[in-house]
Structures are given as structure tokens and as C-alpha cells.
């Protein structure tokens, strides 16, 4: 079983390096379990090749979808595959980027998708469509709907946009192969930010305060 395979000294050193770099970039300590599994499965060289490709992949997706929507789409691809680590982490990152850009609370975030993991696919599709029905999310709503249809095999990608959505699904199948060791147990409360926006602690505090106001308002309405 993969999790029982011990790491060599150089692999343990690499894991330590990955965790330090990750903390420097994101401002958060990510779980060691995931870094260990990447190195265990891909090897040291394989992992750094994967990272190099991830950077190129992200650049291409940012150019096509914008940085915030890319994060949200990646989070939703991870949701489809059942991984909470990437699902919560990337949707939180997308929500923070949106909040920073325009002060809006994104409808898709760890707490709004946590229940979706437990639903049937057709129910998940409906809920996501409802969440993204707000003005300003038209592109993301269409892209989410297409990505889910591609995932289920109901839509064959023909357009450039759909081919990119399929690439997100395929690329994240590669990623969740390792992150699932953490993603199986992850809760929305423990979501980790996936890029440098996590270093902006003031933004995070403002975002959490705004989310608390939104939650209180929702509680009063019910």
C-alpha cells in the first residue's frame, strides 16, 4: 500500500523543502501528508517536473479564464473527483481573489460546496447552477455546467473553451491521485489557500468578517 512505503533521506529532505517553500508562497502551513505522497508517487525529479508543468498550465488557464475563475474551476474539478483538499483550497483561493478584486463574496466557497460532496451528481449540478445564477458569474456558470457535462461524458469538447475545461479535469485527475490521501478527510474549516494571496492576512481577516456578516444575515432570514 502506498502510504506504508517509507521515504528515503533525500525524499524526506525534498518534502521538508516543499513544505517550507509552500509556506513562504501561501503564508500557510500545508499538511505534510500530501507533500509526502507526491514525492512517494512521483519521485523527487518527477515531482519537480510536475511543478514545472503546473506553472505552465496555470499560466495558460489564467490567460483563458482569469486567475480567480481558474481557481474556482480547479476547485470544482476536484469536487467532482471527490477531493476535499483541492476542492476546498482552490474555491477558497478563488473566493479570496474575487473579494480582493471587487469586494464581493463569491457564491462558491468551501462552506457552500461542502454539502455538495454528499449529493448525487444531478443534484450537485442543480445546486451549482443556483449558486452561480447571480449577476456577474455568467461565464463561470456556463463553464461549470460544461465542465460537469464533460466529466460525466455527456459533452464531447469541441470548442477551445471546452477543450481547456477538459484539460483542467484531466490535469486535476493527476493531482488528486496524490492529494486524496488528505482530501478524503478534509473539512471546509481546514481549507488551505493555494497561492500567494494567502500571505495577505489583512485580506483574509476582512474576508472572514464579511462572510460572518453574510452568515448572520442568512440566519436571521431563516
Amino acid at each position: 500500500m502506498t502510504e506504508d512505503k517509507p521515504l528515503s533521506a533525500s525524499e524526506r529532505f525534498t518534502v521538508g523543502l516543499i513544505l517550507k517553500l509552500n509556506t513562504m508562497v501561501t503564508g500557510e502551513l500545508h499538511p505534510a501528508h500530501t507533500a509526502e505522497e507526491f514525492v512517494r508517487v512521483m519521485g523527487v525529479r518527477g515531482f519537480f517536473r510536475y511543478l514545472g508543468f503546473l506553472n505552465k498550465f496555470n499560466k495558460m488557464m489564467h490567460d483563458a479564464f482569469g486567475p480567480a475563475n481558474t481557481q474556482t474551476l480547479v476547485g470544482l474539478a476536484a469536487l467532482m473527483a471527490g477531493c476535499g483538499y483541492c476542492g476546498y483550497g482552490h474555491t477558497l483561493t478563488g473566493a479570496l481573489m474575487t473579494f480582493k478584486a471587487n469586494g464581493q463574496l463569491h457564491p462558491v466557497h468551501p462552506f457552500s460546496i461542502s454539502q455538495l460532496f454528499e449529493l448525487e451528481d444531478h443534484e450537485v449540478i442543480e445546486k451549482l447552477d443556483e449558486l452561480l445564477a447571480q449577476p456577474g458569474y455568467e461565464d463561470l456558470r456556463r463553464q461549470t455546467s460544461h465542465m460537469y457535462a464533460i466529466f460525466l461524458g455527456d459533452l464531447e469538447p469541441e470548442t477551445e473553451e471546452d477543450k481547456l475545461l477538459k484539460a483542467i479535469l484531466d490535469f486535476w485527475r493527476w493531482t488528486v491521485e496524490c492529494t486524496i490521501v488528505e482530501g478524503i478527510n478534509m473539512t471546509p474549516e481546514n481549507a488551505r489557500i493555494m497561492n500567494e494571496i494567502g500571505r495577505d492576512k489583512t485580506l483574509r481577516t476582512r474576508y472572514e468578517a464579511a462572510r460572518a456578516v453574510e452568515r448572520d444575515a442568512a440566519t436571521l432570514l431563516h
Binding site: F57, K163, E177, V181
Partner: protein, 148 residues
């Protein structure tokens, strides 16, 4: 046994064994059925595919997950191809965890029956397939970069 737990093994033809589970899976439920699953696994090495139909599963506790991981490791040692079908993201995550941690490269989770049976009919392994697709994406990324 939980009230709505269900278990069935069927073999629609000699090349496929379907193990259907439903309801809430606990270690107790799995203990009751694993000997039946083992009988099937031990029957014919490598001559059939195993389709785990988890579309009726709502929850799966850690004990049940561990029991299925153990069964999947035994299936892996027989070089038998397996596919998991689950219609809830959480249960697909459980299936991915099982195939990944059992070290079975010939097993993969899917969202529907058709995708799963297609996979059982191919010869490529899960990681092999991921890497193959990753290379296609690399060339796709490279192609786009060259055009910019």
C-alpha cells in the same frame, strides 16, 4: 446491519463480475460480505473484470474504507482490472482513496456505468493513462504557447 444496506454479486457474462453495494457502509457490513467477495476474486485469476457498483452508497465509514482497501489489494495481486462507479463526489473520493492506497494500478473510479465498462475493456493502467493524458496536455499547452 443498517436498515438500508444492500449487497449483491452478479455476473452478467463470464468476463465481468459486478459487486453492488448500497446504503451506509460500515466495517460491520463489510465484514459480513468480504468472504463472498473473496470467493469471487479467488475464482479465476485475471480472466474477468470487477465492477464495484457504489451508486447506491450514501456514506462509507473509515472501517469500511479500510476493509475495501484490503480487498482491492488482493484483487491487485490477481492482475484483475477493476472499476468503481459512484454517483456522489464523496463516494468517488472514497473509491479514489481505495484504488490509490491499495496500489492497484488497474483500478479506477468513474461517474457512470458506461465509462467504467469502457475502462474494463482497455489494457492501459490508471497511472499510465494519467501520464499519457498529461503528455497530451503538455503538447496542447506547448501548441498554445507557440501560437501566442
Amino acid at each position: 446491519m443498517t436498515a438500508d444496506f444492500s449487497f449483491e454479486i452478479t455476473s452478467p457474462d463470464e468476463s465481468l463480475v459486478t459487486i453492488s453495494l448500497g446504503g451506509d457502509l460500515t466495517s460491520g457490513e463489510l465484514e459480513r460480505v468480504e468472504s463472498d467477495v473473496r470467493k469471487v476474486i479467488d475464482r479465476e485469476d485475471g480472466k474477468f473484470g470487477v465492477l464495484w457498483d457504489l451508486r447506491g452508497v450514501r456514506r462509507c465509514d473509515i472501517g469500511a474504507r479500510r476493509a475495501m482497501q484490503k480487498l482491492q489489494s488482493e484483487i491487485a495481486s490477481k492482475q484483475v482490472r477493476s472499476a468503481y462507479v459512484a454517483s456522489r463526489p464523496r463516494i468517488r473520493g472514497v473509491a479514489l482513496w481505495i484504488v490509490h492506497t491499495s496500489g492497484d494500478k488497474l483500478a479506477r473510479p468513474f461517474a457512470n456505468h458506461e465509462q467504467a465498462t469502457d475502462w474494463l475493456d482497455t489494457s492501459r493502467g490508471r497511472i499510465e493513462e494519467i501520464i499519457h493524458r498529461a503528455k497530451e496536455i503538455v503538447s496542447f499547452v506547448g501548441g498554445k504557447g507557440a501560437r501566442q
